[in-house]
């Protein structure tokens, strides 16, 4: 009987596997393969979490003087609360409280209903206004330079968010999502992502979903570092923030 070279190779492999020495060698090879998977593919999630913990921990420590100054200014302006905790939808739809410096008047949610007709966000699911009357004086400044977002380093430290990932939507927005758009919930939400770097609030909802899915598709530690570096000039120039 004539065997093809491939068949011969397969036969030789199984004959080798039937000996104790062969099985030992194959098991060692298997351990190496499993380790390689862990190092190449599985390790990236662990590295991402390590980066999140180290960077957010360092940011919380280093930015504590900024936190103090902003807290004093917010308290001085209208005497309301310093932080604003809003329920957001995280990874796989899990709800969590996302923290921000308060940049709006204390009864902002009640006023929102009256302003819905003036929503400038295309697609209508998210609500944004360039000259939102609910924003306070100090709020306008901290929003322009994204200082209001700094308390989210706490969310990152706790593991509810990541440094890089799609922005976490509010439950009311998610309720309007179709099945396809919900796939953006398949990544841990983050402080910055493609659309914050690209044009921030100037991108329509469908574009945001496309970019978020593109991020999930190509997620890697290297991409996260690149996006973080690109976020710095976008924040300092206040591009698209309002």
């Amino acid at each position: 009987m004539n065997l093809s070279p491939e068949d011969e190779e397969i036969a030789a492999y199984w004959s080798h596997a039937s000996t104790a020495r062969g099985r030992f060698q194959i098991r060692v090879r298997l351990a190496v393969k499993r380790f390689a998977w862990q190092a190449v593919v599985g390790g990236s999630a662990t590295l991402k979490r390590i980066l999140d913990v180290l960077a957010s921990g360092a940011a919380l420590l280093m930015l504590s003087p900024v936190f103090l100054v902003v807290a004093i200014l917010i308290k001085k302006e209208d005497g309301g609360s310093i932080f604003f905790g809003q329920p957001r939808v995280g990874y796989r739809g899990r709800l969590f409280r996302m923290w921000k410096f308060r940049s709006m008047v204390p009864n902002a949610d009640a006023l929102k209903a009256k302003l819905l007709a003036e929503n400038e966000m295309q697609g209508g699911i998210t609500f944004k206004m360039k000259n939102d009357p609910r924003v306070t004086r100090i709020g306008r400044f901290i929003r322009k330079y994204s200082i209001d977002e700094l308390p989210q380093f706490w969310n990152v430290f706790r593991g509810e968010m990541s440094l890089v990932g799609p922005r976490p939507p509010v439950p009311k927005e998610v309720a309007e999502y179709d099945v396809e758009s919900r796939q953006r919930l398949m990544a841990k939400p983050g402080l910055t992502c493609f659309w914050q770097v690209g044009g921030r609030s100037n991108i329509d909802f469908a574009g945001q979903v496309r970019l978020d899915l593109a991020y999930i598709r190509s997620e890697s530690l290297w991409l996260d570092i690149v996006l973080l570096l690109k976020t710095v000039p976008a924040v300092l120039l206040g591009q698209g923030a309002f």
């Binding site: 397969i10 862990q38 593919v41 939808v89 739809g93 998610v174 179709d178 396809e180 919900r182 999930i216």
Partner: protein, 396 residues
């Protein structure tokens, strides 16, 4: 559009037919492509824009409740109604034995038909996938999908339709497809052939193997053609992709070593201490285990920490049993016991039963195994100091 209606679903009780796969989850939670059958129906609830989903569940309702996590992902209010039998559900509830939009033609009335139905779902899902406009997976060729982070060797041959999940590695000279569904986290070694087959998450498929009309999960192979189940003993043929399969984590072993060293003088010098040897089962393997007769549980079970270091026990799990004690258990519980490592501390300990010889202990062991996702272990971990210092009453 304002949501108006309620979608009523019946999760059919096919547990009685699940004699081949013996899946730990009810049929509606079996994976169909990238998500469970029930998740496909929850997507349908989003499409129908209903405000509430009611699920009548005669089979393992707690697992269904845990899977849906309150329906937050779909922004739906979900109510799980446990029922004793299917007839107790609402008359207009939709029976979940088909994918949305494709009602089943043949009823499920045997173990074979249950497996076949599940297998047919996979092909239906793969065929319907191209209708989705926006997906996380990348369509490499028409009907050929690649998940995020998946790596395919350039020498591998991919024949659509196929779906390769996220973070899966396909080795050299592999032939994938047609109709191959490979779930996330799998590792396919050199020259593996997968045709009309499903490989479930985190599975390793060894070199020079061929899978045809079959499903593989860990070391369990389900032959769809012959409707049978085979457990492959050799991990280099088929097994889990994890580095340490069903073994305690490195930190668990390290903490055991620290405890074993620090407690040694106390355990050995405890007044009146004597040791009883029993041959217990760790999974399917036998292991000798010494247990002290005096002092708190931590000192009585001091030798068990050595077994933990060797990877034969874990910190929290059902108590170790002898072969005779396992054989005396109901068959499905004995099977579950064999699939899990026993623990140094158990749920039964927290309920005052400190050995398998206690008449109620097996009930607590079953409860712990049914909740082996960590929910029970999290409660136990909070009580661990109290448990460790418990002094069991002497047998009268």
């Amino acid at each position: 559009m304002e949501p108006t209606d309620t979608l009523e679903l019946l999760a059919p009780d096919y547990g009685k037919f699940d004699t081949i796969w013996r899946h730990p989850l009810p049929f509606v939670l079996w994976p169909v492509g990238s998500k469970s059958l029930l998740a496909h129906w929850m997507d349908e609830a989003v499409r129908r824009n209903v405000s509430k989903v009611v699920i009548y569940a005669p089979d393992r309702p707690a697992e269904i409740r845990r899977h849906l996590e309150g329906g937050n992902y779909w922004s739906k209010t979900v109510e799980i109604v446990p029922i004793s039998e299917e007839r107790a559900s609402a008359p207009k509830a939709i029976r979940l034995d088909g994918l949305p939009g494709s009602p089943p033609k043949v009823p499920i009335d045997s173990a074979e038909s249950l497996l076949r139905r599940w297998f047919d779902f996979q092909a239906q899902w793969l065929e319907a996938r191209h209708s989705q406009e926006v997906t996380i997976d990348m369509e490499k060729v028409p009907q050929g999908w690649l998940g995020p982070g998946a790596i395919v060797h350039p020498n591998a041959e991919l024949r659509p339709p196929y779906w390769i999940g996220a973070r899966t590695i396909i080795g050299a000279k592999c032939r994938i497809g047609p109709m191959a569904i490979i779930h996330p986290g799998c590792l396919l070694d050199t020259r593996v052939e997968v045709e009309r087959a499903v490989i479930l998450p985190d599975t390793y498929l060894g070199r020079n193997t061929r899978l045809h009309e079959a499903a593989a999960q860990g070391r369990v192979l389900i032959d769809i053609k012959r409707a049978c189940r085979v457990e492959i003993p050799e991990s280099f043929i088929l097994g889990s992709r994890h580095l340490a399969e069903n073994k305690p984590a490195f930190f668990a072993r390290l903490s055991a070593l620290v405890c074993w060293l620090t407690l040694a003088p106390l355990a050995l010098l405890w007044p009146g201490q004597s040791w009883e040897e029993r041959t217990c089962l760790s999974g399917r393997e036998a292991m000798p285990l010494f247990t002290g007769k005096k002092g708190p549980l931590l000192l009585r079970r001091w030798p068990w920490m050595k077994a933990l270091m060797a990877g034969k026990l874990r910190w929290l799990g059902p108590l170790p049993r002898t072969t005779t004690q396992v054989e005396a258990l109901p068959e499905d519980l004995a099977e579950r016991i064999a699939e899990h490592l026993p623990g140094v501390f158990s749920w039964a300990d927290s309920q005052g039963c400190h050995g398998p010889e206690h008449e109620d202990e097996w009930i607590h062991a079953a409860f712990q195994l049914l909740h082996d996702d960590g929910s029970v272990n999290r409660i136990l971990a909070r009580k661990i100091v109290g448990l460790a210092l418990t002094v069991p009453p002497s047998p009268s």
